[in-house]
Every structure is written in C-alpha cells, then in structure tokens.
C-alpha cells in the first residue's frame, strides 16, 4: 500500500489556484522530489499533506489516514523540516528535542535512547547542551533532522531543507538523509529548486502553476530531452537562427544564447561552425557549450521557461535577512 496517496488534490486562495488537482502515489522507503519555481505549488502541497492547510478539492492520505478527517493520526505519522528553522533558539538543543518528545508523547525512556542515537548520527552529541542560538545554520538543520525523526515518523517532509546553507553543508545534510532512509525505510518527500539536489530522489515530480507536468525517475526525465544540449552565442542571433534552420534544427533563444537539443552534439558542432562561416556575411560564433541534459533542461522543455536561479537566490537572501531581523527581535 502506498504511504502517500493523493487524488485530484487542489487548493485555491480566493481566485488563485495554487494547486490544481494533482494526483500521485508514493511508496514506503521512496524519496520523492518536487521540483519547480517559487510559487509553483510545492509548499502548498506539502502544507496540505501535513494538515497545516485544508484542501479545497480532492483528497489525500498519509500512512493510510485521510489528511482532512484524521489529522491527529497523520501528524503522528510524519516529521517535518521547514524552509526556515523552527527551533526555539532560547533553549538548548536537548531541550528542543525534549519538547518535541513531550508534544509527540514519546515516553521518557524511549526518548533518551532514541535522542542519543539520532544525535550520534547527525554528529551533534557534544553540542546538544548548548543554546541553539550559538548553532550554525548547518547545525540547526541537523538538529531539526534529529528532532523530526524522534517519534519514528513514516514520512519525513522536507521543504527546501538546504536553503541558505553552503554547498559543503548541503552535501552533508543529504548524506544524513539518505542514510536515514536506508536505515529506517523512511519515505522522504522533498521540495527543492536546486537541480543537483533533486537528483537524489528516486522519482521527481515537475510542478508548474499548480500542475504536475511530469513525474518519473531523474534518468527517464532527462531522456525526454533528446541527446545533448548545445548552447551557442553569436553576434547575430537572428541570422544564426536561419543558418541553424538550414541545418534542420530549431533552436530556442534563451538568456545564455541559442539552445539546440540534438543527438551527438560533438559531431553537430563542426557542422554549425562550417555553416556559420559559409554564410554571407559570416556569422561570428563567440562561444559554444556542449553538455548532457540536466533536470533544468527538462523543466525548460516541459514549461518553456527556466527555473530562474536568480529569482531563487533573491528569495533566499530576502528570507535570510528576514530571519536575521527576526532573530534580533527575539
């Protein structure tokens, strides 16, 4: 039986449809990733599955419990790691764990051993008596992971879990998460807009404007983009496009140049170079880039747009400064 079952789930805010009738299933022990730009409906979907938001249509169940009618049981079945830290900074790491155990009715005897085991895993054993205020961003995240697992959830939801962390810390966090999945047959449900991170998922749902536009394994998704991706920068894109049309390919114009999806890109490039210099007058090519398709390319192919990383970075710095202000105010 799937651990998450979603049927035509939707959520409207007034006239705005944030999630537009999505359906999918997730198996026990699977890592599923939701990939999409900000505002695509990733967080809204997670919030509905976590009982923080009521669906306005359709149904969903987690661990066999309906998210609308069996909220209490759903909550016992899940752990959550939000975009922003939800630790109490005034308390110590251990007190934060203790608080969680009290809310989830974990018996004191079970709590002690479970907490120690998890702290060992996230390598915070010797820091746990310190006030969380003194923790780095990565340490806070690790403590949250330990906390989220304290009550043996069936599904761990992670909403942009590595946002605002440096690349090394991000890699570390994923190592822990994969380890937990392997050890406890836990289901991980994650959202991210970091393409490289989405690759750890067994299956990825690409979500745009509240719809799931594709749901498959990363390799199958990438196979949707034919062959290689060649990106050309020229001094005259308009004429270059005509030249490429003469070669039988239709490029898409992007911020970083003209993009062509083609099999055997390595053999295609000399052809292009030849055709460009044969044109009258010749089109000058300033740079050529050849690479294997990424999930970003899949997203572009499916939606016609890029998951704009600048936009994401902007959101991130906004969030970080907001958190800092919040921290100062406490």
């Amino acid at each position: 039986m799937p651990v998450i079952e979603v049927r035509d789930l939707s959520r409207k805010f007034g006239d705005f449809t944030a999630v537009n009738g999505v359906s999918f299933e997730v198996e026990q022990g699977e890592i599923i990733g939701f990939l999409g730009p900000n505002g695509a409906g990733k967080t809204t979907t997670i919030n509905m599955l976590c009982t923080l938001l009521k669906p306005t249509g359709g149904s969903a169940s987690v661990n066999g419990f309906d998210v609308a009618s069996r909220q209490d049981m759903v909550r016992r079945s899940i752990g959550l790691i939000f975009q922003d830290p939800t630790l109490d900074e005034r308390l110590t790491g251990w007190q934060n764990l203790q608080f969680h155990a009290m809310l989830y009715d974990v018996p004191a005897a079970v709590f002690e051993s479970r907490a120690k085991e998890l702290l060992e895993m996230v390598e915070l054993t010797d820091k746990v008596k310190e006030s969380v205020k003194a923790f780095s961003g990565g340490m806070k995240r690790r403590l949250e992971i330990a906390r989220g697992l304290l009550h043996h959830p069936k599904v761990l939801f992670l909403d942009e879990p590595t946002i605002g962390l440096d690349p090394q810390t991000r890699r570390h966090i994923w190592e822990y998460l994969v380890k937990v999945r392997d050890q406890e047959r836990l289901t991980l449900f994650l959202t991210t807009h970091y393409m490289d991170e989405a690759e750890i998922a067994d299956r990825i749902a690409i979500i745009d404007h509240g719809d799931i536009v594709a749901l498959d394994t990363p390799s199958k998704l990438k196979a949707m983009v034919g062959g290689d991706v060649v990106t050309l920068c020229t001094d005259d894109d308009e004429r270059a496009q005509r030249v490429l049309a003469g070669l039988g390919v239709t490029p898409t114009k992007r911020d970083d140049g003209l993009r062509v999806e083609i099999d055997h890109g390595d053999r295609f490039i000399p052809l292009v170079l030849g055709a460009m210099s044969a044109a009258t007058p010749p089109v000058t090519i300033t740079s050529v880039n050849l690479r294997r398709p990424t999930l970003e390319d899949v997203f572009v192919k499916l939606t016609g747009r890029a998951i704009r990383d600048e936009e994401a970075d902007q959101m991130e710095s906004m969030r970080r400064s907001r958190m800092m202000r919040g921290g100062g105010r406490r």
Partner: protein
C-alpha cells in the same frame, strides 16, 4: 535501528484528555523555561515598573495632599500607587508574552507546535497559562519591594495578591491571544499595542483614584475605565494589598465584585481567542 518501537501504539490507547492536558502543560512549560533561562529579560523588564514607581511615586507624591483628594493623610502616594504598578507589570508581561505567538508564527517555532499531534485548543490554553504564570512571577518580584514601602504582608494577603495577579494576567493573556490569533505579521501589530497597552494602563486608575472629582471629564474617565479589565484588577489588588488603610469611597466596587468582573472578562476573551486560534486555513 529499532523500527517497531512505535510510540503511537502506546498513546492511541491513552485517554485523549490526558494527552491534550499534557500538550497544554508542554506549551506552558516551554514558556516558563524560556523565561527562567533568560535572566537579562527578567531584570530588564523590572526596570520599567521601578521607574514608574519611583518617578511617579516620589515625584507626584511631592505635590502634597491637596492634589490627591480622598487619600488618608497616613497613606503616602507611593503606597497608593504601588498596587497599580504591580498590575502594570502583569499587564505588560502578559500582553507581550501572549502576542509572542505572532513572532513564533512568523519566525518558525509555532509551526513545530502546529503540526504536532496536539489540538490547537490546547496550544492556545497552554499559551494563556504560560503568559499568566510569567506575568505573575514578574509582578511577584516587584511585590518584594512592598515591605520597604511600608506595605504590611501576611500569608493570606500574599496569597490573595498572587491570585489576583494571576487572574488579571490570565485575562490579559487571553486578550493578547485573541488579538494575535489571526495576525500573520508584525505589521499593524505595534499599532494595536500602542492603542491598547497605554490606554489600558492610563485609563485604569493605576495612578489615581477613579472616584475623585466631579464634572464631565471625570465622568468620562470613570465610564471608559469601567470597560477596561485592568481597572478591576487594579481595584481588587489595591483593596487587598492595602485593606483597612483606604476608605471604600475611593473604589467603584468591592474586591469580590471586581474579581467577578475579571472572571467575566476572562471567559469573554478566552472563548473567542481559542476558537479563532483553532480555525484552520
């Protein structure tokens, strides 16, 4: 790693009520723990009531008896003021503590609580309990000054004073939760605080008797004060702390009636506060 020590198996059979009470206790415990751990905040928030007590107490006290109609000659103004300052401390602490729920919502921690298997009714009740307890402790620290000012304490009086502070703080905390329940951001929030906190303080009789003076302004003041829960807290506190020292003509109601009013305010604020807070988006 153990996969089958499922804590939920144990708890499902436990009575729901016990679980929810534990939830209330947990929320309360966190607030109190935070308070106790933060010494700078405890001492920092003593500064304001002390400032009011000494600046007003000695400053206004100098004006002489003529300006303070109705006060017996053997009761200095600072002694009259003192119960009002105790209530002020409870007012500030309880209101700020209750509205900290908005911060928690904005900056994270509340979400950890809201996805926990504890009903929101329990969360709201725990918050009211926590805010009230902290406010009472904070005001109790000011109570230590009483003997220095010549206020006589005995066991019963101290207990009654603490209970009054607790009840007043519970009223104010409920009001704070009521305001904060649907508030999503800190904006607009400062405005509410300014339009609520200061009027509640100044229109409560904490600094002067409400019974003094005739004429329209005094009548307006008296009328407005009667819809202010703080008024009843101040009256009850003053009559308990200084019983026998002040004529009953200085008060609108007897302490028993004041307490009944406070209980009424408590219900009127708490019920909608809990309902509003429990409403899911």
């Amino acid at each position: 790693m153990a996969t089958n020590t499922q804590p939920q198996d144990i708890t499902v059979s436990r009575s729901r009520l016990v679980h929810e009470l534990k939830g209330v206790y947990t929320i309360w415990y966190r607030d109190v723990l935070r308070f106790v751990r933060d010494r700078s905040r405890i001492f920092g928030s003593l500064a304001q009531p002390l400032l009011f007590l000494f600046a007003l107490g000695f400053g206004v006290g100098q004006l002489g008896r003529a300006g303070l109609g109705g006060l017996p000659p053997n009761v200095p103004y600072i002694v009259f003021l003192y119960p009002g300052i105790l209530c002020m401390t409870a007012l500030f602490t309880a209101l700020f503590s209750a509205v900290s729920i908005v911060w928690d919502r904005e900056f994270g921690f509340l979400r950890e609580v809201l996805v926990a298997p504890v009903s929101r009714i329990s969360v709201a009740l725990g918050k009211v309990a926590g805010g009230s307890t902290i406010a009472m402790i904070q005001a109790a620290l000011i109570m230590l000054l009483g003997p220095l000012l010549g206020v006589h304490y005995d066991f019963v009086r101290v207990v009654l004073m603490l209970l009054t502070l607790l009840l007043l703080a519970a009223v104010i905390s409920s009001l704070g939760i009521l305001i904060a329940a649907r508030q999503k951001t800190m904006e607009g929030f400062q405005v509410i605080m300014q339009f609520l906190l200061l009027p509640m303080l100044f229109l409560s009789g904490a600094f002067f008797p409400l019974t003094g003076g005739g004429g329209t302004p005094a009548l307006i003041l008296r009328t407005v004060a009667q819809i202010n829960p703080m008024t009843y807290g101040v009256e009850a506190m003053r009559q308990i702390a200084l019983s026998g020292q002040l004529p009953s003509a200085l008060f609108l109601h007897s302490p028993g009636v004041d307490v009944l009013f406070l209980l009424g305010f408590f219900v009127v604020f708490l019920v909608p506060a809990v309902l509003l807070f429990s409403k899911q988006d």
